[in-house]
């Protein structure tokens, strides 16, 4: 009886040691799954620095596992802590990411609205611009310029629909700049006519 108890204790001890030596595969998979999920949600675009840190931390945890794996007495405690932190940080970023994307979307929409306003203002100016001697040719050229800006304006929505909010913002800024330039030239043509 005494012998049996001794053997049981020994088996239990070995099982505990073996369990402690096992790679934290589940934790790796869980942390990686969250990272993959936020990568698909364009975290590299809308939260680049945080996403980079996550990648670095995940790599450090994997390196730690690789180091321990080579040892006879493996200790994965540190790696587990690192993985737990990666998972927590990844989940935090996953929660924060929609807000960041929404902010980028709103910023793009705001510039799109500004571009539309600039186009409308230029159009209104063109409509009331006197198309007479000395200005008719300029005004007609500016009308064609504005038509180009209006066509390009449609591309902003295409980028927004494709969820390319940063690209949409850049397009909108460029369209706005052109529309403002047209409006300024119309004003100059009107001034020229007054003189």
């Amino acid at each position: 009886m005494k012998g049996l108890t001794k053997n049981l204790v020994l088996v239990l001890a070995i099982a505990l040691v073996l369990a402690a030596c096992k790679q934290p595969t589940q934790q790796i998979n869980e942390a990686q799954a969250v990272i993959d999920e936020i990568a698909k949600a364009s975290a590299d675009k809308y939260a680049a620095a945080e996403f980079k840190t996550l990648g670095d931390d995940m790599k450090a945890a994997q390196d730690e596992i690789a180091v321990q794996d080579k040892k006879f007495f493996k200790k994965f405690g540190t790696a587990k802590e690192m993985l737990a932190k990666v998972k927590t940080d990844a989940e935090a970023l996953k929660a924060a990411l929609p807000g960041k994307i929404e902010a980028a979307k709103n910023a793009a929409i705001a510039i799109q609205t500004e571009a539309k306003t600039a186009i409308d203002e230029a159009k209104a100016l063109l409509e009331k611009a006197p198309k007479g001697k000395g200005t008719k040719k300029d005004i007609e050229a500016l009308q064609a310029d504005l038509a180009g800006a209006e066509t390009a304006f449609a591309e902003i929505q295409t980028a927004l629909d494709a969820k390319d909010y940063l690209g949409a913002a850049d397009k909108a800024k460029s369209v706005k700049e052109k529309a403002v330039a047209v409006a300024d030239q119309v004003k100059a043509a009107i001034e020229k006519k007054k003189k």
Partner: protein, 369 residues
Amino acid sequence: MKKRTRKGRVLLLGLVLLSYACKTPPAPSEAADAEALEQALWRAGASVFSPENYDLYKDGLKTAKENLAREKAKFGWFRNYDPIRSEFRDLLKKGTDLLQAIQNKKAIKSKALEEQSLSLKSRVERLKDMTLYFNESGAVRKNLSQAEIKLTQADLLIGKEQFEPVGDILQGCRLYVKQAEEAIASLLDRYLDKDQLEKWKRWADETIAESQKRAAVAILVNKLERKLILYRKGDVVASYDIGLGRFGLSDKLYSGDEATPEGRYQVIKKIPSSPFYKALLINYPNEEDKKAFALAKKNGQVPFQVGIGGSIEIHGGGKDSLTKGCVGLEDGDMDDVYRLAVVGTPVTIVGALSVENSILAEIKAFEKK
């Protein structure tokens, strides 16, 4: 009592020695610098501009950190950070060089893209000037506007050092510019036709010869050069800048096409008070125009129920306003022309007289691109 004091002194000395022996050197501050440099490399786009060297740096950093951790794990008396410090310093040197190399690469890339952008801008500007010169304010101008928007977008991205999408954006811009250039070139196709140019030259020579023979005034209009040249007794009396219609470079075919006719005409009426200051009415359409119109009508090139048109004049009102096919002059210049012209004065309108003029040279340059 004396013995106890001595014991205390020995103990105190022992403690001092122990504390000195346990004192460990500080960990190298270069470790934090190397970490910060890794972040700087990432922000500089090392993974894009020099991925292999960046990976080498990261591997080096990892090894150095592991060595540092190993050294830290040692008992204080046995710690020696000097080799680790040296390892980090080497790494920092490599990283700093890499950062510099990346910045140089980026500067080269940025400059190359800026040059492409500037070259396109200059083409767009030249084309815009040409659209104004040719009164081409439709599709060509719209294309150029879209090209300009693409260029602004490219400049924004170059400024943010986001070079990857710039190539595609500039390519899109190039397409718009090319379309504009092709449209302008097609507008001027016939100006490069040798037979056409010879015909115009013959008309001009005959007009000048006639002016000489009759010792009279003759008017020659060169559409491409935008000039009206006044001859008397075969000699040039004056030359004036003119304005044409929206499609002034085309040969007039029918009413409302806003083209300026080409041919040999005469002044048939002097109008001292016209909506456009003063005017000289010419005998468009002549017999050749009527034949060309009939042929075009037969071939379905003329819209249904549209006539050949008429009332083509040389008038005042300014050279920069758009006419409907007439030749516009500044009022002061019109005074000169009006004074010298009489009913019957020959008016010859040609497209161009030479392929060597600057506009045609530009068009030829476009075609080579």
